[in-house]
Symmetry: C2
Subunit: 219 residues, 2 copies
DNA sequence: ATATATTTTTAGATTAGTCTAAAAATATTT
DNA sequence: AAATATTTTTAGACTAATCTAAAAATATAT
C-alpha cells in the first residue's frame, strides 16, 4: 500500500508530465505540492525504490506504468467524488475540491466502480474535467478556449482551465456555467477583452485572463 | 485539527467507556486498538494536553466534553457512510465496516449533514446501531437479546452485538436480517440453544453464542 | 502484611516525512 | 571556456507515532 503522501506525489507528477512531455523537475514538484526540493528528492528516491517512477539523479522524473495507473485511479476517484458531491449532496462547484482531495485516497476498486455506476458513468466532473474510465482511459476535450474564438464565432462552455474559487464564483455570477452557449460579439484589440452573448440573452464583457481559461466546444 | 490516529483513540475510549462507566484502562485501549500499552500512554498524554481526555497517572482515562463530541461525530460519520454504502452502492452489510473506518475521518460538518439529508435522516445503520443526530444524541435500543426471550415469546430483529463477517454471513445464510420476526419454539436447557421460527416460515436451531448477540424488540 | 503478579509508565530507539544549510551538478552568461 | 547563477542532492536535525525492555506503581494471594 501507498501512503496519502506518496499518492499525492504521483498525482502531482502525472499532472506536471501532461504539460511538459519531458521528465518533471524536482522544483516543479516542490512548487506544486508546496514543499521543499529536498523533501521531493527524498520522496522520489522512495518512489523509485518502489518502481513507481523512473529516476536518474539530476535528470528529472517520470512515472512508470505502475505509477501512472495509481495516479490515474486517484484522479478518477477525485472526479467521481466531485460529481457525487455536486449532483447528490447539493454542493456548489467551487466547494468540492478540498473534500475530493481527501475522498480520493479511499482505496477500494469496488467503491469506485459502484460509485461510478450509481452516478450513471459520468464522463466529466463539475468543472468539465474528463473522468478516467475503469481502464484508465481519459477522453480529453480539445484545447480550444473562448480566447481562441474569432468575431461572431460561437460555442458551448465545456470546462475550465483554472479552478480557483474566485474564478468559479465570478463565472457563476455572470451565469456562465457548463453547457452555456456563448457567441463573440466584439474583440478589443489592445487588451484582448471580449464582448460575448450568453445563451442568446445578455451580453457581458470578459477579460483575456478570463476567456483564456474557459474551454469551449465550437458549435 | 486531530490526526486519524488521535480520532481512533477517542473513538476507542468512547466505546470502552460505554461498557465500564469507570475510567478506561490503558491495557483495554491497547487491546482494542491492537497496539502496545506504552504507545497508549504516550497518546493519552498528548490527548490530555489537548484537553480531550481526563488523565491521572495509573488512574485510567475518560473523555472530556470536547473529546466526547469528537468521538460521537466520528461514529455518526461512520454509520451514515455505512448506510450510504448499503443503500446506495449495493454493498452487503458485512462489507462496509472497513471502508467506513476510512470515510469516517473525512472531516466536514457540511458533508456529514448533507449526506444525512440525502439518506433521509436514517436512525440506524445496517447493523442496527443507532446513528447519533446532528446534536450528538444517540437513541439506543433496549438491551434485549434473543437469548433473553422465553418460550413462545416473539420479537423483531433490530440489531447485532457482534459485527464479525462470519457472524453476519451466518445470519444472512439463515435469512436472519434486520426486521425479521422471530418466535421461540423451544429452549434446550443444557446448552441454552434455541429453536426459533423465522418470519412464520421456517424453523432453525440457534446456539446461545448466536442468540445472545442478536438484539430484539419484543412484539 | 509481605511476597508475587499484573498493570502502567518511562527511557531510549525506530520509521516516515519534513526541514535548513551546505555541497555538488548542471545551466547560463559573458 | 571561465565565471556566475540556478537546480538538485546530501547531511544532519526534528516531529508524530510506534516499539522493546526495564522501572515504578498498583492489585492480588498467601
Amino acid at each position: 500500500m501507498n501512503s496519502f503522501t506518496e499518492e499525492n506525489y504521483l498525482k502531482a507528477i502525472f499532472k506536471l508530465s501532461q504539460k511538459t512531455n519531458d521528465g518533471v523537475s524536482t522544483n516543479a514538484i516542490a512548487e506544486s505540492l508546496e514543499t521543499k526540493a529536498s523533501s521531493v528528492t527524498d520522496m522520489i528516491k522512495k518512489l523509485s525504490e518502489k518502481k513507481l517512477v523512473n529516476y536518474k539523479k539530476y535528470q528529472g522524473v517520470s512515472l512508470t506504468k505502475k505509477g501512472k495507473d495509481i495516479a490515474v485511479s486517484i484522479i478518477r476517484n477525485h472526479r467521481l467524488w466531485e460529481v457525487f458531491l455536486v449532483e447528490k449532496l447539493n454542493f456548489k462547484w467551487d466547494e468540492v475540491h478540498d473534500l475530493a482531495e481527501d475522498l480520493e485516497h479511499i482505496n477500494s476498486k469496488k467503491l469506485t466502480n459502484q460509485l461510478d455506476a450509481f452516478l450513471e458513468y459520468p464522463k466529466y466532473d463539475p468543472h468539465g474535467d474528463p473522468i478516467p474510465d475503469k481502464d484508465g482511459n481519459i477522453h480529453r476535450h480539445q484545447d480550444i478556449t473562448l480566447a481562441d474564438l474569432k468575431l461572431n464565432e460561437q460555442g458551448i462552455v465545456v470546462g475550465v482551465k483554472e479552478h480557483s474559487k474566485s474564478y468559479l464564483n465570478y463565472l457563476e455570477s455572470i451565469n456562465l456555467v457548463l453547457g452555456t452557449e456563448i457567441k463573440v460579439k466584439e474583440v478589443v484589440d489592445f487588451d484582448r477583452s471580449m464582448s460575448v452573448t450568453i445563451n442568446k440573452e445578455n451580453t457581458v464583457n470578459i477579460s483575456h485572463q478570463a476567456s483564456k481559461n474557459l474551454i469551449i466546444k465550437r458549435s
